[in-house]
């Protein structure tokens, strides 16, 4: 509390969780980056009762009352290793938590390995998607209070947090994540839920498109985890590599996941959104990008990079610019100028090269002429990817926020339904 009242901050050791479809961000409030980013995927494999590895997350199976015949593999290091019969499960669906058992495993892991402290000492702030359902909010509240015995709990819509992270209480938040791109108007820190517009075009969609293209080109996409050795080959030559010798066949879900990660790397390093609607001639002038796949194959990518990324914008109804304009158009006329004057861009997928430029351009063409349009996009990768988490970190460490928590006492008095009143 150095500086005390001056900065308005008061840190009470709160934790911030920001679950997303791609990963869960965990960390202490008042820090500028999450302590860990855990993929939102849990690997489940039958326990062979040969307990030799210490790396495996010990599961507190007495809580979930499940016979401990499964082992759970969490976090990148464990996930990216092929294991016999390991199936991967994503516990998120449409930006909401779907598989609660798996989610508990992740939470256990976070407290155990990341936070390394007892949950009952730390108030917890969770982010949620703007369209989260009431029963899911209540379920989460119940879980946190009943299982983890947190002293206090709070739920905030991630769009509001992203706006806070960019220093705004009123903003039009364009959040382009793994599965969705959404436009969410935030007014004074409250999400206007009736004006939320989302489109299913996100990082996953780009990966899908990129994979289709790479498959069509006949490029070998063997993930790095399965490659034992590879030789240097010339541009566009057939790759020469040896696969790891496995005495089992990795599960389909694992292969799919690893392929996705491989293509994701390609997507992140190669794709670019053209500044204006795709045009062959214009694109021809932009230098190609060289990319080498894990198998050793490499080549230049020219117009392909633009063609794929263009999908984020060229859909008539689903393009990012269009949903932003639609969302603003659904709000009260009086607040539209305020929304247009702070359009916050956040989410990992917005880091595709040229995304914000194009969005700005698209939106400009849809903005009423007299309206001032201002785009706010954090420059740093961390700030952009973890926008909601950073906002949560700020919010949970503000002195005046400490009266907002739903405390254990309140939970015991009025039950989980209280969350709807406490956290609007």
């Amino acid at each position: 509390m150095s500086g005390g009242m001056l900065y308005g901050g008061d840190e009470i050791g709160a934790l911030v969780f920001d679950p997303g479809h791609y990963s869960l961000r965990v960390g202490y409030a008042q820090e500028d980056t999450p302590k860990a980013e855990i993929p939102a995927v849990v690997g489940v494999a039958p326990d062979d009762s040969i307990k030799l590895e210490a790396e495996v997350k010990p599961d507190d199976s007495n809580v979930s009352s499940r016979p401990s015949q499964y082992k759970f593999y969490i976090d990148t290091t464990y996930l990216h290793v092929p294991r016999p019969n390991m199936e991967l499960h994503n516990y998120m669906k449409e930006g909401m938590i779907e598989n609660w058992d798996m989610f508990e495993k992740i939470l256990d892991y976070s407290y155990d390995k990341i936070i390394q402290s007892e949950p009952q000492y730390h108030p917890v702030l969770f982010s949620e998607s703007p369209w989260n359902q009431r029963h899911k909010r209540e379920k989460l509240t119940e879980l946190m209070f009943e299982k983890y015995k947190v002293p206090a709990f709070f739920l905030v819509k991630n769009a509001a947090l992203a706006a806070f992270a960019n220093g705004r209480a009123t903003a039009l938040v364009i959040d382009s994540g793994a599965t969705h791109t959404s436009a969410v108007p935030v007014l004074d820190g409250y999400v206007i839920s009736n004006a939320v517009v989302k489109s299913p075009l996100g990082g996953e969609y780009l990966i899908l498109r990129a994979r289709e293209m790479l498959d069509a080109m006949g490029i070998d996409l063997t993930p790095a985890a399965l490659i034992a050795a590879k030789d240097v080959v010339r541009d566009k030559d057939k790759p020469r590599f040896t696969k790891k010798k496995l005495n089992f066949q990795p599960s389909n879900s694992w292969m799919t996941y690893m392929l996705k990660r491989t293509v994701q790397d390609f997507q992140q390093s190669v794709l670019q959104v053209a500044e204006c609607p795709y045009d062959d001639r214009m694109v021809a002038n932009i230098p190609a990008v060289h990319y080498e796949f894990p198998c050793g194959y490499h080549q230049d990518f020219g117009s392909e990079r633009f063609k794929i990324a263009e999908a984020l914008f060229d859909h008539a109804m689903l393009g990012a610019g269009h949903i932003a304009a639609t969302s603003a158009g659904m709000c009260d006329v009086d607040i539209r100028p305020a929304l247009y004057s702070s359009v916050v861009v956040t989410g990992g997928n917005s880091l595709v090269q040229g995304f914000s430029d194009r969005l700005s351009r698209d939106l400009q063409s849809r903005t009423p002429g007299s309206m001032k349009l201002k785009m706010i996009a954090a420059n740093g990768t961390v700030e952009r990817r973890f926008g909601a988490w950073v906002g949560g970190s700020i919010l949970a460490s503000i002195g005046t926020f400490q009266q907002m928590w739903m405390s254990m006492q309140e939970y015991q008095e009025s039950g989980k339904a209280q969350i709807d009143r406490k956290c609007p």
Binding site: M1, L6, Y121, V333, P368, Q402, Q403, E410
Partner: protein, 434 residues
Amino acid sequence: MADVRDIMEIERASTPELTRESIIGSDKPKKKFPAGPKPPRRPEGMHREVFALLYHDNKNVPPLFPSDTAGNGYKQTKIKLGMRRPRKWKWMPFTNPARNDNATFYHWRRPSDEPKEYPFAKFNKKVGIPTYTDVEYQQQLTCDTWSKEETDHLMDLAQRFDLRFIIMADRYDVGKFQKRSVEELKDRYYKVHGILAKLNGEKKIYTYDPDHERKRKEQLNKLYERTPEQIEEEQFLLIELKKIDARKKERERKTQDLQKLISQADSQNDTPRKTDKKIPKKKVPNPSRPFKVDTNHILQAVETAGIKFPDYKNSGVSLRSQRMKLPANVGQKKSKGIEQLLQDLGLDMNPTPTEEICQHFNELRSDMVLLMEIKAALSTCDYELQSLRHQYEALAPGKTLVIPPQLLNTDHETKTAPGEIIDVVGSPSTPLNT
């Protein structure tokens, strides 16, 4: 610097002489500082670096070298490394009076600090939402379109969202009640508020006009929903309007000028001046001008529009040539025109100022000015006639406007400018001279 000046041969400003004072500084400390605005003080506890970020305007640029050497100089700049132990920080529980459960949280605090009320509790401000009892509601607040439950819900939302009506409309329980617009909510809320305020004898009562608001928002919406083409069109129309206005003004000005000529002609006709009798004489020195008797009165009128030479009757002794001087109010353009015409006629610029010559010369020049003015009037009339014709043809394509030949101005007619005066005066039936 001095060297450069020497090379450039710029005279050197006299430098103040070096004195003991100027080097060492005067003994008495300078007390007077320019009475500028005092730089804001750093609040206690704020880090210096942070403060510097907040206040770094050029007025308070830090000095380049330590200037605070008055008094003790560098003698006591040593850090006092006391042997005191640093004060401890401790992870301590606190309760927040802004909460109505007694939840205890922990934060870092110095145990030495007095445990006082949680400092942020004072920011816990709530909007006062009026409350009512069942009886009050039954007596005063009943409304056809609003049930009590719905009103309760509205007040609850108002409390929860601190009167942010847009959010209230967004979170309105659509399952239980019908969907309401922001205006409806505001209307109902302020009505309830007003009635309750009246009951409590408050003087300030808010009124809300939902229809006006709705209309305003509708208009605002229309304003925002204009397409770029519409905006462009509006701009274009505005420019056109400006042009039309300018043209209209121009025309009015011209009509006024003409009117002036006409009215002067009329008044002169009624009360002939003494210059009247001089008109026949005028023909003598300038026979080239084709005059007609019936245009005389117009000439007179026009004469007044020419140059008015001042009378020298009461000025005592004066040179006659003085009378031939153009008055000061004759513009440069006019005098240039006169010169030009005189040259064309082969006349002397400064003829010998006999009584007669003086008189005629002045009249001649006055006529010349008049001629110029009338020519100008004619050409504008002609221009307008043409433009009207074009407009007519544009509006009614296929038709051509036949202009009576006497209205048409041809080149050779311009020479006979005085004849056109008739036209200007507005009697087109008068036969024109050629």
